[in-house]
Amino acid sequence: MSDFGFAVDPNRMIHEPARLKIMAVLSVADEADFTYLMHETELTRGNLSVQMSRLEEAGYLKISKRFVGKTPRTTASITSAGRAAFVEYRRYFTSLLNATDKK
């Protein structure tokens, strides 16, 4: 059996760089709005929108719309399934990188 744990592939839904950025930002926050995610991930408006929709379809993100005064605010938060998947993704890469330290 491989020392690196290559028998299992990383979660491809999270592995894509744009989606990984979104999940990483939201993993440490309760919720964030679209503007904040765009600012932090440095993704374009269109790309962020598409990747957020994919994560929402996968059940990893919950997207809600509400009004703050007269201004609409779209916020996203990570779901419990998303958090579990991200923790597993982190574990996968931590063990993989640790294996490279031992060589």
Binding site: A29, T35, Y36
Partner: protein, 153 residues
Amino acid sequence: MGFPVSAKVVRWVKDRITHPRTGYVKYPERSGKRRGVGAAIALVMGVGIALAAVLLDNENFEGTLGYAATAAAGGALAAALAVRAHKMSMTRFYLSALTVAGGAAWSFAQGLSFIGALGVMWLALGCVSVITGTIALAAYLRKNTPQGEPLHE
């Protein structure tokens, strides 16, 4: 009363200035245990200072006691600001720490009572906060323009 009012003012400013530019984020709140520890430390310090003033019959902390209290308070406040500056990587908090330390040293040299020294330190901290805060806000407004509402459906 000051805390709820300042919280409302901060939220009002954030809704109008920072959220339209760099967005809104909500981080998990500190656990009740951590908040409890912070409140307990503040309570012990407050009661300690009040008790010392009463028991030593020296309400303004003058003389040697005042100098020691000035050095302790100035050092503690400057250290707390420096730690915050380091944690947040914000240079202007280092400047605040230096200003407080400078205020404490000046008060010490002038032989001010502890209460007088506290006034000097808070005044110095307030002035440097207003100046550096204004500069930081101006730079932030120049760098970030308001974003429109997202296309995301």
